[in-house]
């Protein structure tokens, strides 16, 4: 039986309950066991704690890796930002012995050590590795035929390539292949690999202004592509692209009406999981048009 050590993260478990529901429903259907712990700390986004103290930030991120080593299970994150920060810490400590020694000195003060054995996965990377497009296609009982889906990769699932190692840094394709395996069409559009800045900028008004501007560019492009929905991988991207639609309606009267779902939602629908079990009624932008198209509303 496949088993992972779940790294729930802050944003997914507090702000994106629908995503967490979908993730749990899908892995339950797949008979994947998720072990939980009560002592992980925040992944420590680089833009916050590492900005204040590089090495203590790294030690705090690595504390989670040390815990995963105790369990001898791969970590699985829901959030791409957690995935990015944990992968970055692993890469830096595995490639710089001086840094690892210093970080372990800090971890030693609380009786922990990073040994270099931790493995870091994300919901989407684990699905790709464990089943791949062929496995997803084989398991599909209710294919998403006729749906045009716009993949939105987010940044930290594949950038930088040396940290995540998941996909090509310039032309990532794996999310497209996974989407096609559910029976949907993967729509090509210019902004597919853009950044939403949701997980990396916390400067206040300036960050909000920048985030809304980018959301508008991305949403305009998705709209022009004629896609029925955005399929994302990261809870921050989902928030930015949904809240962006609400704010742009208020600020400019723009009506996008583009459902934003996670890849596990698309996968779950193709596995025959009910939309209510996937928490799709919790989405900020109604997914009814998508479900109607599938005859599953």
């Amino acid at each position: 039986m496949t088993e992972y050590l779940l790294y729930p993260g802050c944003v997914a478990s507090v702000r994106e309950l629908g995503y967490e529901m979908a993730m749990r429903a899908v892995f339950k259907r797949l008979d994947v066991k998720l072990r939980q712990r009560d002592d992980f700390n925040c992944c420590m986004p680089a833009c916050l704690v590492h900005s204040v103290d590089y090495k203590r930030g790294l030690a705090l991120t690595s504390r989670n890796l040390a815990i995963a080593e105790e369990e001898d299970l791969p970590l699985m994150t829901l959030c791409s930002s957690c995935f990015g920060n944990l992968s970055r810490a692993k890469y830096l400590l595995d490639s710089n012995q001086d840094l690892r020694r210093d970080v372990n000195k800090l971890l030693g003060e609380v009786g922990r050590e990073y040994r270099g054995k931790a493995r870091v996965e994300h919901v989407v990377t684990s699905i790709y590795k464990d089943y791949g497009p062929d496995g997803v296609r084989e398991m599909s009982v209710k294919p998403l035929s006729g749906v045009r889906a716009a993949p939105f990769y987010g940044c930290h699932l594949f950038l930088p390539q040396r940290y995540s190692g998941f996909d090509d840094a310039e032309f990532p394709q794996k999310l497209d292949r996974l989407i096609e395996a559910t029976g949907a069409e993967s729509v090509d559009y210019h902004e597919k690999t853009s950044c939403c800045i949701g997980c990396g900028s916390f400067f206040g008004d300036v960050s909000e202004e920048a985030g809304l501007k980018l959301a508008e560019i991305i949403l305009d492009d998705v709209k022009a592509s004629g896609a029925d929905a955005i399929v994302a991988t990261c809870p921050f991207c989902m928030m930015q692209l949904e809240v962006g639609q609400i704010k742009l309606r208020e600020a400019k009267g723009k009506e996008y009406g583009i459902p934003v779902i996670h890849y596990v939602d698309a996968f779950g629908l193709s596995l025959g999981v009910e939309p209510s079990e996937l928490g799709l009624d919790l989405r900020r932008i109604s997914v009814s048009p998508l479900l109607q198209k599938l005859g599953r509303d």
Partner: protein
């Protein structure tokens, strides 16, 4: 212990900042530069790390990088602007210059173990959706360990 300044100079040296060709790949790849033209420019920011450090440490621009890593991925000279900006922020932090919003979020992380605060009654709400409780999933021992690693001096810096 390796100090921040030493790490920064090592990173600058290893990555040959002086060989920057001024090609602008970093700025051309940057979502922040796209969203805030004229306000944010990583190519110019890199030059300021070498030539204008004291002023840079007081600037808002230093804190705008959103950590997407496109510049680091694409730089033809292998310079890693993302990591360089991070270490440069450490120097600002040493001077006690941590902007208000990041400081508030870090304070919340040190208090609760999470970057997003959990509202009262949240576990009951989660239960309504068939989700296990998270209110106490970060144990007091974990928070204590986290504060110990972060250290007294930095905790004081957050309160300053």
């Amino acid at each position: 212990m390796v100090e921040v300044k030493e790490l920064l100079s090592r990173l600058l040296d290893e990555n040959k900042l002086s060989y920057c060709q001024d090609c602008g790949s970093c700025t051309g790849s940057c979502p922040m530069a796209k969203a805030l033209p004229g306000k944010y420019n990583p190519r110019r920011l890199l030059q300021r790390v070498s030539h204008d450090l004291p002023d840079l440490l007081r600037s808002e621009e230093l804190w705008l990088c959103a950590w997407c890593y496109r510049c680091t991925e694409r730089c033809p000279q292998g310079i890693q602007p993302t990591e360089i900006f991070l270490l440069t922020r450490n120097l600002a932090s040493e001077e006690g210059r941590i902007p208000k919003n990041p400081k508030a979020i870090i304070r919340e992380i040190m208090r609760s173990g999470r970057s997003v605060s959990v509202p009262d009654g949240f576990d009951e709400w989660r239960e309504g959706y068939g989700l296990p409780p998270i209110g106490m999933t970060i144990s007091p021992k974990a928070i204590e360990e986290q504060r110990k690693i972060f250290g007294e001096e930095l905790l004081r810096r957050l309160d300053a």
